[in-house]
C-alpha cells in the first residue's frame, strides 16, 4: 500500500518560534527557518500529531485524510 503523506499547515502569524514542535518531533520533520518553523522532510512524517498536540500557539495543523 502506498504511504499517504499528511499536509502540515503552519500558520506563521501565530508561530512564536519556541522550538517545542521541532524538539518533540520523533522523526525530525520540522526545522526552524529564521524565526518560524517550517517543514524540512515531509516524507519522514508518521502522523503522530505530537507537533499539533504540543504547539502552545495553535500554529500547526497536521491534516490527514
Amino acid at each position: 500500500m502506498e504511504k499517504t503523506l499528511p499536509k502540515i499547515e503552519i500558520i506563521e502569524k501565530y508561530c512564536k518560534g519556541c522550538h517545542i514542535c521541532v524538539e518533540f518531533c520523533p522523526k525530525d520533520v520540522l526545522e526552524m527557518k529564521g524565526f518560524y518553523v517550517s517543514v524540512k522532510n515531509l516524507e519522514a512524517c508518521i502522523k503522530c500529531m505530537q507537533c499539533e498536540l504540543r504547539c502552545p500557539d495553535f500554529a500547526i495543523k497536521v491534516i490527514t485524510e
Partner: protein
C-alpha cells in the same frame, strides 16, 4: 484528522499574549479538547478567571466567559453557579491568583464542595507582574523579589485542596499534554468541587532566573519529576524524593452545595 480548535476560539483573538514556549497554550488546548469530548454547549459553559497570565485564557475561548478581580474567580463563579445551576462552571487561573491573593476564596470553595472545576496552572511564579515569587515557588529558587533564593517552602496545591475539602483532586503537567484533557473531562464529570493542578513552565520570568537554558529543558524537567500515582505505589520513599505525583490523587462523594442549599430553601418554606 487535525483537531478543530477553531470552533472554540473567539474569532480574531489569536495569536495569544503568552510568551514563546509558555505552557498555558498547551493547557488551553487540553481544556478545548475536554469540552469537545463532553460535547458541552457554548451557552451552558462558563469559564471564569481572575487576573494573571493564565487568567487571560477566557478571552480566547468562545463560550460564556467572565474575567474578574484578582483572586476572586471562585467567588464570582459561585455566584454564576448559584444563579444558573445548570451551567458547567470552569475556573482557570495561576498559582499566585489561586493560592495567594485568592487563597481564602480557594479553600472556602473547596470546603463548600460546590459543583465547579478549578484548573490551576502552576508555573511557580507571578509571570505577568514581573516575576515575583509566589506561594508555590520552591525553596531556594530565585524570583525578581528573591534574587538570593526564596527562603519559604512552597505550597502543595493538591494537598491544600484535599485538606480544605475538595472532592476531586488531580494533577497533570504541560509536558503530558495527552493527559490534560482526560483529567479535565473527569473533573468536569465529577459532582462537587474538582481541582486540577497543571504544572507549567514559565520560560521568561522563572526559567531565565533559575538557569534553565531553554523551554525544552523546562519541559524535560516536568517529564523527569512527574510520577504517575500507580507507578508511585511500587516506589520507595527514597525514590520518590523530589518527585511529583500525577494523575487522579483524590476522589470522594460528598453532599454537593447547590443540592444542599435547595433543601435549606425547602425547609425555610415549610417553616412558614
Amino acid at each position: 484528522m487535525a483537531f478543530d480548535y477553531d470552533k472554540w476560539i473567539r474569532p480574531g483573538k489569536l495569536p495569544h499574549i503568552w510568551c514563546p514556549g509558555c505552557g498555558h497554550g498547551i493547557v488551553m488546548k487540553g481544556l478545548i479538547r475536554a469540552m469537545e469530548t463532553l460535547q458541552l454547549k457554548k451557552e451552558e459553559t462558563a469559564v471564569v478567571s481572575g487576573i494573571g497570565c493564565a487568567s487571560r485564557l477566557p478571552g480566547y475561548i468562545d463560550c460564556c466567559t467572565l474575567h474578574t478581580a484578582h483572586g476572586r474567580a471562585a467567588a464570582f463563579a459561585t455566584g454564576v453557579k448559584m444563579a444558573r445551576p445548570e451551567m458547567n462552571v470552569i475556573l482557570v487561573g495561576g498559582d499566585g491568583d489561586g493560592t495567594a491573593i485568592g487563597g481564602n476564596h480557594f479553600i472556602h470553595a473547596c470546603r463548600r464542595n460546590i459543583d465547579m472545576t478549578y484548573i490551576i496552572m502552576n508555573n511557580y511564579i507571578y509571570g505577568m507582574t514581573g516575576g515575583q515569587f509566589s506561594p508555590c515557588t520552591p525553596t531556594g529558587h530565585k524570583a525578581s523579589t528573591t534574587p538570593y533564593g526564596n527562603p519559604d517552602p512552597g505550597f502543595d496545591i493538591a494537598k491544600l485542596a484535599i485538606g480544605a475539602g475538595a472532592t476531586f483532586v488531580a494533577r497533570g503537567t504541560a509536558f503530558h499534554a495527552n493527559q490534560i484533557d482526560k483529567l479535565i473531562v473527569e473533573a468536569i464529570q465529577h459532582k462537587g468541587f474538582s481541582v486540577v493542578e497543571i504544572l507549567d513552565d514559565c520560560p521568561t520570568t522563572y526559567g531565565r532566573r533559575n538557569k534553565y537554558k531553554s523551554v525544552i529543558e523546562m519541559m524535560n524537567r516536568l517529564k523527569e519529576v512527574a510520577v504517575p500515582v500507580k507507578a508511585a505505589e511500587k516506589m520507595t520513599a527514597e525514590q520518590l524524593q523530589g518527585k511529583v505525583l500525577t494523575g487522579v490523587l483524590y476522589k470522594e462523594v460528598k453532599p454537593e452545595y447547590i443540592e444542599e442549599y435547595a433543601k435549606v430553601i425547602e425547609r425555610a418554606k415549610a417553616a412558614k
